[in-house]
């Protein structure tokens, strides 16, 4: 970066920024395919309870509604973070990212509690096909969220160290996109798994 950029290379540099974003969008599409397969498995196996409890008996409206709202709110706050970044306010950017991470942590916490409770009621991943597909689908999403939390924390440390520059801007944009995407996936988990489950 220290070298003076010549016009041709400046042109290329500019491209490199949009490259990363395009590549990340395509990655998100591949992630969509991953979730599509898990949804397909869940849709096929959701009645295969092998005589055990069904979704209606296992899912708690209060719990999954809280999870939904928390994740939605965190998606909103991560949006506010990128807004703060565009205004150049490092303080607000870090503030909103912290709120996002805290919301994300409470989401993961709630999910772990929910899973633990189900397991204690004898509804574990090895119980039957329905629960296997439930835990893999919702668990994969949970893993994505957990990964996102570590990533976002890493980005926050970098903002703390380097401030808002081209590198950190790009990172915030991409991790924000990832975070919104996880909320979009959750909309379908909320609908297909939980709402159809308690219907």
């Amino acid at each position: 970066m220290a070298q003076p950029a010549i016009s041709m290379d400046a042109h290329q540099e500019h491209h490199h920024d949009t490259f990363k974003l395009l590549g990340f969008w395509i990655f998100l599409v591949t992630d969509c395919i991953i979730f599509a397969c898990l949804f397909a498995v869940y849709a096929v196996l959701r009645t295969h309870t092998d005589g055990d409890l069904t979704g209606r008996e296992l899912f708690e409206v209060k719990g999954f509604t809280a999870e939904t709202l928390i994740l939605l709110a965190s998606s909103f706050t991560s949006g506010l973070a990128s807004l703060a970044m565009q205004k150049g306010s490092k303080k607000h950017l870090l503030g909103w990212l912290t709120v996002t991470v805290l919301l994300g942590l409470s989401f993961v916490g709630l999910e772990i509690t929910e899973f633990a409770k189900m397991a204690s009621e004898g509804a574990a991943i090895s119980t039957n096909a329905f629960l296997s597909s439930f835990f893999t689908l919702v668990g994969t999403h949970g893993l994505h969220v957990s990964f996102g939390l570590i990533w976002m924390t890493g980005v926050m440390v970098q903002i703390g160290r380097y401030g808002i520059d081209a590198h950190t801007k790009e990172k915030v944009t991409i991790v924000g996109l990832y975070w919104h995407f996880l909320d979009v996936v959750w909309i379908f988990i909320f609908t297909v798994v939980y709402l159809l489950g308690v219907m």
Partner: protein, 101 residues
């Protein structure tokens, strides 16, 4: 990167958030109150979910932005077709329609 700084405003984020809240509450209410029969309800809440997806794509993820040609939008559309193929195709195939008449 600096040429199109327009990554949404506070207004779009707040609007998107409000819409999403409504579109979350609505299907929840429909399901808890059993407003219609199961088949219709299923279709309704799935449609609402798709609507919320579209809202978030535009208000949170700003898919309309970026330089042309918008390859990421093409990728998403093709991705949507594939997602539909995977889910609907699997259900169709696995609805074990054994060769009985």
């Amino acid at each position: 990167m600096h040429s199109h700084e327009n990554h949404g405003s506070a207004k779009t984020y707040i609007l998107g958030f409000l819409f999403s809240l409504i579109l979350t509450a609505l299907p929840l209410w429909l399901v808890i109150q059993h407003v219609m029969n199961k088949a219709l309800l299923t279709v309704a809440i799935l449609l609402i979910a798709v609507l919320q997806l579209i809202i978030q794509f535009f208000f949170f993820m700003h898919i309309g932005e970026g330089e042309k040609p918008r390859y990421h939008v093409m990728a998403l559309i093709l991705g949507a077709v594939m997602v539909f193929t995977i889910v609907a195709g699997s259900i169709w195939i696995m609805t074990f329609n054994s060769q009985v008449h």
